[in-house]
């Protein structure tokens, strides 16, 4: 059965800290790995990763995929209180574009 696992499930850090969120997967017909940020409402798209070893960056956020280890990490440097959210990792399959979500990592950044 397809599975996406994230760790840690929750994390509390101080502003300015750097955090690393982990995602691992066991999914057939892999197309891409996706990261989303969910604050109070709908998940918003952060990154799509399809190739191993190529870092994607957006401001203080970056992510990389390791297809050999079936995993990905999301790094956030110099965290701010506005980074507090649930970070969802998901894997998109080639079959019917189905997306399997992980349980999310709840990140709280305190001043």
């Amino acid at each position: 059965e397809d599975k996406v696992v994230q760790s840690p499930l929750s994390l509390v850090v101080h502003e300015g800290d750097t955090v690393t969120l982990n995602c691992s997967y066991e999914v057939t017909n892999f197309r891409s790995l996706l990261w989303y940020k969910q604050e109070k409402k709908a998940p918003t798209f952060l990154f799509m990763l399809t190739s191993s070893g190529i870092e994607k960056k957006s401001g203080r956020l970056s992510s990389i995929l390791d297809k050999k280890e079936l995993s990905s990490i999301l790094n956030i440097t110099a965290t701010q209180t506005g980074d507090s959210a649930i970070y969802l990792c998901a894997v998109e399959k080639t079959s019917y574009d189905k997306v399997i979500f992980g349980p999310g990592t709840s990140l709280s950044v305190i001043p």
Partner: protein, 113 residues
């Protein structure tokens, strides 16, 4: 301009009632989805329609019936509501085969009392 919209945003109803949630997207996408997010925040796919055809139908009670009148709309009807149906329901859309994930609507928080 709202890309994916859902109505209503909040729905409070009693057990046994029947209710509908509507979803519309103006992105020109051909595929739409319904997801359920429970109290533990686990987001799980329920249904997917591509050009009005059902392509993903997960293990969901048959009290849930999606309907897609056209590729810009996907509605969700729920019969005989139960306490366990309380959750946030998200609609999403994408262009089939293009990859890159989906665009989500704002969610409908359903509370069954």
């Amino acid at each position: 301009d709202t890309a994916v919209s859902q109505t209503p945003k909040y729905l409070v109803t009693q057990m046994g009632n029947d209710k509908s949630i509507k979803c519309e997207q103006n992105l020109g996408h051909d595929t739409m989805y319904w997801y359920k997010q429970d109290s533990k925040k686990f987001l799980k796919i329920m249904f997917s329609y591509n050009n009005k055809e059902l392509i993903i139908n997960e293990t969901v009670p048959n009290r849930f019936s999606p309907k897609s009148p056209d590729k810009a709309h996907l509605n969700l009807h729920i019969n005989s509501l139960e306490l366990g149906d309380s959750a946030v329901y998200f609609c999403a859309s994408s262009q089939y085969g293009r990859g890159g994930g989906q665009y989500f609507g704002p969610g409908t928080r359903l509370t069954v009392t």
